[in-house]
């Protein structure tokens, strides 16, 4: 299978302190992959570098990020986004001064002329609760609604790769389950997804392959079956 | 222990004393070559150095970007002028009162302004200074738009302050004393607390420091010293002018501080000297010297972003180890 995303030997530093020491990751079109590891191990930094956010590009010391056959190098975040990477960031980062509808339509785009693009209607049918709260400002939503909005907002750009950073963090179990269901449906629709989260059991069911980062290095990678089989890995690296 | 600055203290002390000695004999030199005019010019420069230093204490050491320092500068000047108008000409009464009035004003303004932060602090200090400005220009009893002229300079014992050289020495003494005081403060407990607050305010609060009180006191000290500078400038030109209170004056002082070096002990002095000397020299060469000054300031912004004093320091100092990494 031809890979959509190919990260090789990525080394990144915040100012003088290096955070990533050679991260490798590859992801094929239509696949769902996870990035696992305890807090502060470099997951978010990997995602941020991928999206061109600080400390990248200045902080990238070595390594290569290829996406859809192009080397991202020192691309700006907006160019990377237009190339088809959409981020659902940690903490949702909903625009508080835009209402729900605006949060969605502001960044809508179908740059690769997908036959069945994401539209307002499709997002609303995926998350009916958002339709009810269309006119509410971003900061008037509950945590779960904000999370749905963040996912919807990313989908509206019709991305080739959807990235979710701690998308279920701080959500009540039922709402969390709703997010998992949604991801499963996206997967069925053929969406390529990269997830950072900590619910290993749930992720094993959702994703195809997994990468574990420990102190800025990849310490384990493999398929869902392999991860499922090796609970020692869970314990050692994930503190579960 | 302590920072890199402190290790050089002996060297610095000698340099400071040498500079002080040089400045002390300057009037004699100028008189010898027939340029008495420059005695008055340098006095003015030193007074502005004092005013800028007082602002630098607030901005550089207290971490508060105040855009209304002219209020305290002008308040000091007007205190002296108003007292003079009412027959009190003794410097021993008027100058401490000028300091006290400016300090009180700073206390009031600081109490309210320190509720806000960032840009809002900049703007609220500006607003208060503008209020003071309009208050003064509208009160005819205090000279209104004309300002208040002083019949003579203050009297200071038997010192003939009307003599430009004598006045110069008094100004120099005030500046030297202020710098010594601030140098001690920054290395004393209070100064260390300020330094830490500037770096991490919430952590200081969590170590049990009433951060607000420290910042307020810093603001008041800065205001008080500006009051002293105001008392001196009123004596220098024998005029308390409302333009001392104008926002452009606050801006000029702030520019002096930034040019000289925010948080550097001599930043205010270097900044005032640079700006006033540039003005003096440039205006000789071109009618359009403001543009040249603007270009010079742009140079500072892009080439010496931490001001001239630290720039000199880096250029001429060999010891670079232990320089804090920027995060």
């Amino acid at each position: 299978m031809k890979s959509l995303l190919e990260i090789t030997g990525l080394e990144v530093a915040y100012g003088q302190s290096q955070v990533l020491f050679g991260v490798n990751l590859s992801l094929a079109e239509g696949q769902v992959a996870t990035l696992l590891g305890r807090n502060g191990m470099g997951k978010s930094t990997t995602l941020r570098s991928l999206c061109g956010l600080s400390p990248a590009p200045a902080g990238i010391l070595a390594g290569n990020i290829r996406f859809g056959g192009e080397t991202l190098g020192n691309w700006t975040p907006d160019r990377i986004a237009r190339a088809g990477i959409a981020l659902v960031p940690e903490g949702r980062q909903i625009f508080p001064n835009l209402n729900v509808r605006e949060n969605l339509v502001a960044f809508a785009a179908n740059r690769r002329a997908v036959a069945q693009p994401w539209t307002l209607e499709r997002v609303f049918s995926l998350f009916p609760r958002l339709a009810e709260r269309q006119a509410n400002m971003g900061n008037q939503l509950s945590g779960g609604e904000q999370q749905m909005l963040a996912i919807g907002r990313a989908l509206m750009t019709n991305p080739r790769l959807l990235i979710l950073d701690e998308a279920t963090e701080g959500l009540a179990p039922l709402v969390r389950e709703e997010i998992w269901q949604c991801l499963a449906r996206l997967r069925e629709a053929g969406q390529t997804i990269l997830v950072v989260d900590k619910y290993v059991e749930r992720l094993i069911r959702l994703a195809d392959q997994h990468t574990i980062i420990e102190r800025g290095r990849v310490v384990w990678s493999g398929s869902s079956a392999e991860l499922d089989a090796d609970h020692g890995v869970w314990h050692r690296y994930l503190g579960v | 222990m302590g920072g890199a600055l402190y290790r050089q203290s002996a060297q610095r002390r000698w340099a400071a004393l040498a500079l002080l000695a040089g400045l002390t004999v300057l009037p004699l030199l100028l008189q010898a070559v027939g340029h008495e005019f420059y005695v008055s010019f340098v006095s003015r420069l030193l007074i502005f150095a004092l005013a800028a230093t007082s602002l630098n204490f607030v901005v550089g050491f207290g971490g508060m970007i105040a855009f209304g320092h002219a209020a305290f500068f002008g308040a000091g000047a007007y205190t002296v002028a108003i007292l003079m108008e009412n027959g009190i000409s003794s410097a021993l009464v008027a100058w401490p009162l000028a300091i006290a009035v400016a300090a009180l004003l700073a206390l009031g303004i600081g109490l309210v302004s320190l509720r806000t932060r960032g840009v809002y602090f900049i703007m609220i200090t500006l607003a208060f200074a503008q209020m003071i400005y309009y208050l003064f220009i509208s009160l005819k009893a205090w000279g209104g738009d004309d300002g208040l002229s002083l019949a003579s300079r203050s009297t200071l014992g038997s010192l003939p302050l009307s003599n430009d050289a004598v006045f110069y020495w008094v100004v120099l003494a005030c500046l030297a004393a202020t710098l010594l005081l601030l140098d001690r403060i920054t290395h004393a407990r209070f100064g260390r607390v300020l330094q830490a607050i500037r770096e991490n305010e919430s952590r200081m609060e969590a170590l049990g420091y009433p951060v607000h009180s420290y910042k307020l006191l810093c603001f008041v000290i800065g205001g008080a010293l500006a009051g002293l500078a105001g008392a001196l400038i009123a004596n220098h030109g024998q005029l308390a002018s409302p333009s001392l209170l104008q926002w452009t004056q606050s801006g000029t002082l702030l520019v002096m501080v930034i040019v000289g070096g925010v948080g550097a002990l001599y930043g205010g002095v270097v900044g005032a000297a640079t700006l006033l000397l540039l003005e003096e020299v440039l205006s000789h060469f071109t009618h359009h010297w403001h543009a040249a000054l603007g270009l010079a300031l742009l140079f500072v912004v892009f080439r010496a972003p931490h001001g001239i004093a630290p720039w000199f320091h880096r250029r001429f100092s060999r010891s670079k180890k232990n320089e804090a990494p920027r995060e």
Partner: protein, 253 residues
């Protein structure tokens, strides 16, 4: 059990429409290590903020040593004996490690004016320096006195943060994920340090490392979506089905 040192009664706090804490009641008794666990976003750090004074609750009461401290400022609470550490390292990066702790020591001398000294250079105050050095040694940073705090390793910075909190000589220590981002050896050292401290101060501990929590805690409270679900000794918590579902495993979701 003895009279509680810290008593939180019905504390609520919301941000806009989000209820970060709803009617939380909890106590910490003297000498106890009380762990607070719960998923991210459950309101643990928000609760620490209410106790330390970084934020004020919308409703409810906080008592410390029998006195109501609900409306006290942060520095006043420190003076009363409440100290905290942060989830994200919070130190003075451009000061030396020793100066960091010296500030904490200096701040503790609370007779009015102790830090309103304008003349004598601090560098000559040997008692403060000696005590600061002792605290550094206590947390395992002996020999690192003159290093700039910002250039210490991550784990060392966490240790320094602990030293800062300890040097205020608190009765109650609020520790917000003291082991976040630490390697196993460093974590072990911190666990030992807390075990050691547990004899002298009361500790409210927020931590994700369940091994450490179950090893250290005398009691554990579980916070989920801003509500206190359960408080009990470690074994009770481990056995509690709702807690397991809400936090520990998420196994049967």
């Amino acid at each position: 059990m003895s009279e509680p040192l810290l008593n939180i009664v019905g504390v609520s706090r919301h941000f806009g429409g989000v209820h970060a804490l709803s009617d939380v009641t909890l106590d910490v008794v003297a000498g106890e290590v009380h762990a607070l666990i719960g998923p991210n976003g459950a309101g643990k750090t928000t609760l620490i903020h209410q106790i330390s004074g970084a934020q004020m609750p919308d409703a409810g009461r906080i008592e410390f040593s029998g006195a109501d401290i609900t409306r006290l400022s942060m520095h006043a609470r420190v003076a009363a004996g409440v100290a905290r550490s942060w989830q994200i390292t919070n130190i003075f990066g451009r000061l030396s490690a020793l100066d960091n702790v010296a500030l904490a020591v200096q701040g503790r001398q609370r007779d009015w004016g102790s830090s309103f000294r304008f003349w004598a250079p601090v560098d000559a105050e040997q008692p403060i320096i000696d005590e600061a050095a002792a605290w550094l040694a206590e947390v395992g940073l002996a020999g690192r006195e003159s290093t700039l705090a910002g250039s210490l390793a991550h784990g060392e910075q966490r240790q320094l943060e602990l030293a800062l909190a300890l040097a205020t000589k608190p009765q109650l220590l609020l520790l917000d994920e003291p082991m976040a981002g630490m390697g196993p050896e460093e974590s072990e050292r911190v666990v030992e340090l807390i075990e050691h401290l547990g004899r002298r101060v009361s500790i409210l501990l927020v931590e994700h490392d369940m091994d450490a929590v179950f090893r250290l805690a005398d009691r554990i409270s579980v916070l989920v979506s801003g509500r206190l679900v359960f408080t009990g000794i470690p074994d009770e918590v481990r056995a509690h089905p709702e807690v397991r579902r809400a936090y520990l495993g998420d196994v049967d979701a």
